[in-house]
């Protein structure tokens, strides 16, 4: 069947079997391997992408079900060579060790900050509670998201003052 969706702002259309999962569609059919593929059982959250702005586990969404929707992957986070504050935060606060969970963690963080620019640390913990870090680097992941929240509001404040 023909499946068409928007991925990182770009209209994508491919002929795929109905049983193709979104994670494989992204990785194998359009070559965006930044979305990682982990447990296959909607437990680990490595494959998290944003669907219409909300984080979902792409191993448990059919590509066919994502048709017509707006998908955002880690490849779509930086704009014009500038890292998303979340990506910057993961660099500043050493939010990754092996990096396997990182794309999913960062996308969930992006969705959280889009909804609530100033979340509490408890909100951050809740938001990432569906995703596993096998390096157990949660403390630095939370710090990284905290960094993004703090610096994002500074940036937004500066922009408002400048306008």
């Amino acid at each position: 069947m023909q499946v068409s969706m928007t991925v990182n702002g770009e209209a994508i259309s491919r002929e795929v079997e109905p049983r193709v999962l979104l994670v494989h569609f992204l990785r194998d059919d359009i070559g965006l391997t930044g979305t990682h593929w982990g447990c296959d059982t909607s437990n680990c959250g490595l494959c998290t992408v944003l669907m219409d702005g909300a984080p979902v586990k792409s191993c448990t969404v059919l590509a066919a079900m994502a048709a017509g929707h707006d998908i955002r992957t880690v490849e779509g986070m930086a704009t014009g060579g500038t890292l998303d504050p979340v990506q910057q935060g993961f660099m500043e606060e050493h939010g990754l060790q092996c990096g396997f969970c990182t794309p999913g963690m960062m996308l969930t963080a992006r969705a959280l900050l889009d909804r609530d620019p100033n979340p509490s640390n408890q909100d951050i913990r809740e938001a990432i509670s569906g995703q596993l870090c096998r390096c157990t680097g949660y403390t630095n992941i939370i710090k990284s998201i905290r960094w993004a929240a703090d610096h994002q509001s500074e940036t937004a404040g500066a922009a408002t003052e400048g306008s």
Binding site: R19, G45, A54, V56, T108, G130
Partner: protein
């Protein structure tokens, strides 16, 4: 690599279209909503539908409407919406209690109440919530609409009275004055299925006695979904720790848990007892709180 077996896919544009697709493709067609139960089962070949009818575009089935005596929930309402609804948190605190324990935020972004109830998993939390709240389920078929009480929805594990060419469209929870509810769950790790869980709804009389009560248990083999003998002990009585203890004892006696990797039979009976006490205590506290909705 877990991939479902091959199937054909159709996306329904309306409820009527979905019903038409279901009758057109016959017994091997299944509705998919959030897909977070069905797709894992398909990967494991525990479900092998030949057709999937995707109803995610039926956004008119996603709603929470509050009337004086009933709250109506559209079947496509997702867990996240149930969790975040302030109206539901006020009227039926059991809903937020339960939703906080269901899987994780990402799964809750996709899973729906209709899907949860129709999956009919014996360890599923919203089923107990619906038993406790005395839900009515609205089911649509080609020949019109019917409604069934929650006690008649599940006919066995993973089996419901929703016919193959029908779709559950709405869940109705009656609103009762001086009533509050609670849910609590023991799980091996956050987001797991229940080892055991309990829910209760308590209506307080003006005389300080329990006018009415419903107790539900999850994942412990309770026939009919409610712990009737425990409720009988509480109804008409003045709340006390002794009363909760008696209710817990009866709940543990009435359930029939099976020992598995989540716990032994004895441990699950212990949980049925203890969790019944906790939800009764919490429900009574909420129903009698000076500023609560229950007053």
């Amino acid at each position: 690599m877990q991939i479902p077996a091959a199937f054909d896919y159709a996306r329904a544009e309306s409820l009527e279209h979905a019903l038409q697709l279901l009758s057109e493709h016959g017994p091997e067609a299944r509705v998919i909503a959030g897909g977070h139960s069905l797709l894992p089962m398909m990967k494991l070949r525990l479900a092998n539908p030949e057709w999937l009818i995707d109803i995610n575009d039926l956004t008119d089935l996603a709603y929470i409407t509050e009337d004086a005596d009933v709250v109506r929930i559209g079947a496509m309402t997702r867990h996240v919406e149930l969790l975040e609804s302030e109206a539901l948190a006020g009227l039926f605190p059991i809903v937020r209690d339960a939703e906080r324990t269901i899987a994780d935020p990402l799964v809750r972004n996709r899973g729906t109440i209709g899907g949860s109830l129709c999956q009919a998993d014996p360890a599923e939390d919203l089923s107990t919530v619906c038993h406790v709240l005395g839900a009515e389920l609205v089911i649509r078929g080609a020949n019109g609409e019917r409604s069934v009480p929650m006690a008649q929805l599940h006919t066995g594990p993973y089996e419901t009275s929703v016919e193959q060419d029908e779709i559950l469209t709405e869940v109705r929870w009656p609103v009762r004055p001086r009533t509050a509810s609670a849910y609590t769950k023991v799980e091996r790790r956050a987001g797991d299925w229940a080892t055991a869980a309990a829910g209760a709804s308590v209506t307080m009389g003006a005389d300080g006695r329990v006018e009415d009560v419903t107790i539900g248990l999850t994942a412990v083999g309770l026939d009919g979904g409610t712990a009737t003998r425990a409720a009988d002990a509480v109804r008409g009585q003045t709340p006390s720790e002794d009363l909760y203890a008696e209710a817990g004892r009866r709940a543990a006696e009435q359930c029939r848990p099976i020992g598995d990797q989540r716990g032994t039979e004895a441990y699950k009976r212990h949980l049925a007892d203890e969790l019944t006490r906790r939800v009764l205590r919490r429900s009574v506290e909420r129903a009698t709180a000076p500023l609560g909705r229950g007053v």
